[in-house]
Amino acid sequence: MADENDNERMDDNQKSDKMFTLKKWNAVAMWSWDVECDTCAICRVQVMDACLRCQAESKKDSYGKQDCVVVWGECNHSFHYCCMSLWVKQNNRCPLCQQEWSIQRMGK
């Protein structure tokens, strides 16, 4: 019995021409940095932080001023310059996309 009543009520709702009214609208926007990845895939540290090698060395001989810069390739992949300069000595390709490595820009 109860089921039948429910079905009738639903039919009534469908017949009315206005099923719902929009009372509130919340738009959500997302943003992200315009770089392909923000973690250096070689040493797994954020590119904006010093690489593992520099972190270890600055502790050892306190060259706090030695800046560990970021390098972007033409492929838009970014790495620490220190990490990448060691890798390109043995293979001049981007470790992520295997494209020929050429530097687009360097900096922080």
Binding site: C43, R44, W87, P95
Partner: protein, 151 residues
């Protein structure tokens, strides 16, 4: 002494624990982070299913610029595994990338179990049986699975 290679391995271990891939596990040995023990479970729907295959991974101070040496400790019968347990896998040799970590290495070896490459054989008998007599191949693999429970 904490070198870049050792620090990277600590990160690999952390990632392996926080985001463990299914069917593989690994950890550094008690007193040396440069030597790891790992286990790969035989993938479902392959003759390796239910096997627990043990491996060792040895890193050098050049990691991650140079790949580690990975070796099966458990006896294996697979077209791309040498008699001494050494593995013939491109990403552990000429296709190595410093972006790989322990997690990536273990999952690649796991998928090698499912998809052997009989055209570059390390075990010619296994490669031949894989191509020409799949029933015998599966029988030999199943014997390895049984063996893996013991050793």
């Amino acid at each position: 002494m904490s070198t870049p290679a050792r620090r990277r391995l600590m990160r690999d271990f952390k990632r392996l624990q926080e985001d463990p891939p299914t069917g593989v596990s690994g950890a550094p040995t008690d007193n040396n982070i440069m030597i790891w023990n790992a286990v790969i479970f035989g993938p479902h729907d392959t003759p390796f299913e239910d096997g627990t295959f043990k491996l060792t991974i040895e890193f050098t101070e050049e990691y991650p610029n140079k790949p580690p040496t990975v070796r099966f400790v458990s006896h294996m019968f697979h077209p791309n595994v040498y008699a001494d347990g050494g593995i013939c896998l491109d990403i552990l040799q000429n296709r190595w990338s410093p972006t790989y970590d322990v997690s990536a290495i273990l999952t690649s070896i796991q998928s090698l179990l499912s998809d052997p490459n009989p055209n570059s054989p390390a075990n010619s008998m296994a490669a031949q049986l894989y191509k020409e007599n799949r029933r015998e191949y599966e029988k030999r693999v199943k014997a390895c699975v049984e063996q893996s429970f013991i050793d």
